[in-house]
Amino acid sequence: MSVIRCEALGVRLGGREVLREVSLDLSARTIALIGDNGSGKSTFARVLAGLVRRTGGDLRVRGLDPDRDPAALRSKVALVLSNPDAQIMMPTVAEDVALSLRAARLPRAERDARVAAALVRFGLDGLSDRPAHDLSGGQKQLLALCGAFVREPALVIADEPTAFLDGRNARRVADHLLADSGHALVLVTHDLALARRCERAVLMADGEVAASGASSEVVDAYEGALAC
């Protein structure tokens, strides 16, 4: 099944055409979205996550139409933002991770077990009772990832998740995102080395798809264009 399939997708925001005639059929496990600022990458990611409604064309994310079946989409898709502070809702680390499972209405024992396992996986188990907003930037982004992955989503959409991180933390976050744990990944990034680690890449320019294919080829083409 395709991860993303769209045909002539268009989005207008505030009277401006932000995405135009976007047509893609991608079934790779890891997909990078690259391009200049304002090229439409983040808007495209938000359309995929169901946060922004399309104004034209057709779209399927993991076989679901985000506009017609938002509840099913929410249960399968997790979004990670560049600023983890926007995603941290609860006072302590463990409570914040547990918040992601409230909608699933799991028995408390199962909820606690899944939270504990996720904290261990992301190396946050020693910080479970710490105030979430006292964590370092890298730890906060790991917490945001933990909150996303604890739901065991089929697709993770990450919008510049390493933008505010130092090299070491960026690497840790990227490793978690790219690890094969049964999820597909759509990664919006300006980090071209990170984009190369994805299987496929899509280059966006002025709200349109400028190139799509194997990540090394697309990134090479983008770097070539930047050198001109």
């Binding site: 809702m89 006072p91 409570e95």
Partner: protein, 201 residues
């Protein structure tokens, strides 16, 4: 989100959130229902006893009480001044004492209850509203976010004051209102997107 929770293992902290909410509500209502006489001022002993005897360390309990009272300083000033102006000294002392005692007793809830426990208790308590088409989970989350957002707004206000000082201005309520409003709206946007990003609508 910021929490007022003070970690401890005393009886009040161990008490389930639902019965605790009910008990403190009864105490707060009883305190508020007393008549307006000089004797009523002794109700201020109720929060002192509860904070000091809640099972937090004695000093930590009194420190939490002092913090909560300081947070109510403007409520105390405005209530007392209004009552004094229109009703006289005795009702002013009695009524202000009742209001402050009730608020301080209510303040024990976030001090002794984790946000998760509060969320669970509210969700259970609100379950009867399901018959009116209201989702208790969403209503509980809304209430909890509202409670935990109050300290965030206080922090935003402090940031605005710091920004004014950094630019050589004296902190001013008038000049600070617009930046505070913009910061609060920006925070609300972030919160909404963060909730949506986590699959919560």
């Amino acid at each position: 989100m910021l929490s007022l929770y003070v970690p401890a293992t005393g009886w009040l902290h161990r008490m389930p959130a639902g019965p605790k909410l009910a008990m403190l509500a009864v105490v707060a209502v009883a305190v508020a229902a007393l008549p307006s006489t000089w004797v009523t001022a002794v109700v201020l002993l109720v929060p002192v006893v509860l904070y000091a005897g809640s099972g937090m360390r004695f000093g930590r309990g009194l420190s939490a009480l002092a913090e909560a009272t300081w947070g109510l300083r403007w409520v105390i000033v405005v209530t007392a001044a209004g009552q004094l102006l229109f009703l006289g000294l005795e009702p002013a002392v009695a009524n202000t004492s009742r209001v402050v005692a009730a608020l301080l007793v209510a303040g024990l809830v976030p001090v002794s209850t984790t946000v998760s426990a509060l969320l669970d208790a509210l969700e259970r308590g609100l379950s009867p509203v399901t018959r009116f088409g209201v989702d208790p989970g969403r209503a509980a989350l809304l209430l909890t976010l509202t409670i935990t957002t109050i300290p965030v707004l206080a922090r935003l206000a402090a940031d605005v004051r710091d920004a004014q000082r950094a630019r050589g201005l004296r902190p001013s309520l008038l000049r600070g209102a617009l930046p505070l409003l913009v910061s609060a709206l920006h925070y609300a946007d972030d919160l909404g997107e963060g909730l949506a990003a986590r699959g919560i609508r």
